[in-house]
């Protein structure tokens, strides 16, 4: 391996990238756009659930008091009071309302006579997650109301209120339950994966497609030198993206960084090496840019979106799929990023994830070199 030759190759690559400033620009703009969308636009917190209400017991103060609990809650947004079923059906069909509450005619009568008053809740279940959460909100409003009603009733009969049991929930790492803190570190991993694998896969495939790869091969440059030289500039771009991502997370989105920056740089370097090598491996196998881009999307982008724990909790997946996630490098990198940002973890906690990243980087780099050698000779 000759250092000079590596530099020569990366120098050539740098010049090529510089000549195509639009691609370079996009490699910086796309990450910024993604961070902005995820940071500002997407919220996993569900509030202002659009609700339509049909109060058949409208003349009763008790029913109105009960509904105040919904009106005054930030979790619900009452879009309409109606007096017929057709309205409800239409609003849920067309998506204007997510749920409907129906109070029966004798709602207050039931309660006043010490019975259970039925309350009907209709939810658009299409988005099951949102529906489940919305139902949970309603349940807790009702449970609260019932506890108060019970205490009132007992007090009126001269009993002391029942003892209360309390579940004290203490939230670690993210006391404000800010979903942005959860998403943003994951976005950094996704960006690095997209930029690294997509960009390199296509840039190497281009040389094959245009035939300039033959020229490179006929020079004295050896396969490992060629590959390392090719990915150095992209390594630099990846680090710029990482830098931009961390800056935006800290200062724009206010995500804390509780870990060690050196560790972040070192582990990101490992992940980036693996991702770039994977890109080169793909393009050596594909040889055309169209196929390379498809393969890269399929093997890097989609697993990173779906199987890394970025959004969807891994513990909810079927056992087989959970097994597959062990082969998704972004899984480890996301654990590391969240550990560094939110938990302030050090190597003593994350050593096994770091080890996996090391194996990933080493395996991908070797595979890329072997495959490349085979194609060439």
């Amino acid at each position: 391996m000759n250092f000079k030759r590596i530099l020569a190759v990366s120098n050539k690559e740098f010049i090529q990238i510089r000549r195509d400033p639009r691609s370079l620009g996009l490699a910086i703009v796309i990450p910024i756009l993604l961070l902005l969308i995820f940071g500002y636009g997407l919220s996993l917190d569900i509030d202002r659930v659009q609700t339509v209400i049909w109060n058949q017991d409208a003349s009763s103060g008790l029913a109105r008091d009960f509904l105040l609990n919904f009106k005054n809650s930030k979790y619900f947004k009452i879009v309409k009071y109606t007096d017929n079923y057709r309205d409800i059906q239409h609003m849920i069909d067309s998506g204007e309302a997510l749920m409907a509450l129906i109070l029966p005619k004798d709602f207050s009568h039931y309660l006043e006579s010490g019975k259970e008053a039925p309350l009907q809740l209709l939810v658009d279940g299409s988005d099951s997650n949102t529906a489940t959460i919305a139902m949970g909100y309603v349940r807790s409003v009702v449970a609260n109301y019932n506890v108060n009603l019970l205490a009132d009733t007992l007090a009126r009969r001269g009993f002391r209120p029942a003892r209360s049991l309390e579940m004290r929930s203490r939230v670690w790492f993210n006391m404000g339950l800010n979903s942005r803190w959860f998403i943003v570190p994951g976005v950094i991993a996704m960006i690095i994966m997209i930029i690294a694998a997509l960009l390199t896969s296509i840039c190497v495939a281009r040389e094959w497609e245009r035939g300039t790869m033959e020229q490179l091969i006929s020079t004295p440059v050896k396969a490992p030198e060629l590959i390392i030289g090719k990915f150095l500039p992209y390594f630099a771009i990846g680090f710029i993206d990482l830098f931009v991502g961390v800056l935006m997370s800290r200062f724009l989105f206010g995500v804390p960084f509780r870990g060690n920056y050196l560790l972040l740089i070192f582990l990101s370097g490992l992940f980036l090496t693996g991702a770039l090598s994977q890109g080169i491996l793909i393009s050596t196998a594909a040889r055309t840019q169209l196929l390379a881009s498809q393969l890269a999307t399929l093997t890097t982008f989609i697993p990173t979106m779906l199987l890394s724990g970025f959004i969807y909790p891994i513990f909810n997946m079927p056992q087989v799929v959970q097994g597959v996630t062990y082969f998704v490098p972004a899984r480890y990198y996301i654990i590391i990023l969240r550990g560094l940002f939110l938990k302030g973890n050090g190597m003593e906690v994350m050593w096994d994830e770091a080890l996996f990243l090391l194996i990933f980087a080493f395996a991908m780099l070797s595979l890329a070199i072997i495959k490349f050698k085979k194609k060439v000779f």
Binding site: S23, D45, S128, M167, R170, L199, Q294
Partner: protein, 375 residues
Amino acid sequence: MFERIIAILIKEFKQVLRDPRMKTVIIISPIVQIILFGYAANKDIDFVPTAIYDRDNTKESRQLLQRFTYSKYFVPKYYINTEDEENYMLDKGLVSAVLRIDRGFGRDIKSGKDASAQLALDGTDSNTAMIIAGYANTIMSAYQHNLFQADMDSLGLDFKAPGVDLRDRAWFNENLISRNYYLPGVIASIVTIMSLLLTAMAIVREKEIGTMEQLIVSPLRPLELIFGKLLPFGVIALMQCALITTVGVLWFHIPFRGSLALLVLATAVYLFTTLGIGLFISTIASTQQEAMMSVFLFYMPTFLLSGFAYPIANMPQAIQWFTLINPMRYYLTVIRGIFLKGVGMDILWPNFLILLVMGVTVITMSALRFRKKIA
């Protein structure tokens, strides 16, 4: 004119499918995605890995623990005995929650005092943490209710509490299966990315290789060239739509309650927009790399702000307005309406109308620009 369109159509098909690996990718890619979305994209929070730290170890604490372990929500993964272990479990992410019952819990309950248990949650995933806290509260209330009833019984009092009895029912997706929500959306995602990427890259490729010049000097008129170039990708996207629908309905048992013809019509109308944008990108990009990056630049916000995985109603107001010009948003509404709600034109017509207007506008503008570029 028709013959010439067909000629270029055949050429284009041959070119895309000449590489057998490309054929495989076109079929495999949707299947992999639908399987992943079907099995992995699940936001329902069940089986929360939990560590249990029982410092009280009385009949009452065990009763409470039993209620946790018998619920389908909590899975006791570890039983721990020290605070250090509690810290480690959460730091390492081995569990999402630690249920801790301190000494005195059973004694307080027996003597009629207020008592509490603690739940330490990994708040990294705020959404999950909030849902778990809700589950725990519900279990605790049920336990309290039970104790209260037992007290009343032991006093020999016949007392039934008044209260509101919630009867909830979910429409369209009665068992609240997230897969039913995501899988129809996969159609939108794949149709979008495929039609954009194939169109933009294939056209730029011809520019890059220089074969575009040959096509231009041929007797083809620009409009024929455009049609012939776009149609095959439209056909491929439609076939992928059919493939996903088939797998979704047969393998994942996604309900399909609406009209198949309407789905095909919606896809065809939607394709005007995406093919048009692909064509537009091909006129500004000079290399395939640039084309691909531009496609991603367009696709990511379109996908993320479509309501595919993140409800539009939760977005900030300004972004909600912005989604009004997102074609995928309307297409998704139509697809989900057809699959889950079984609604027809009477409800979906505004979405169709918007898609049609967008499609015609985009494709006309792109075609004009393309013609100017090659003329």
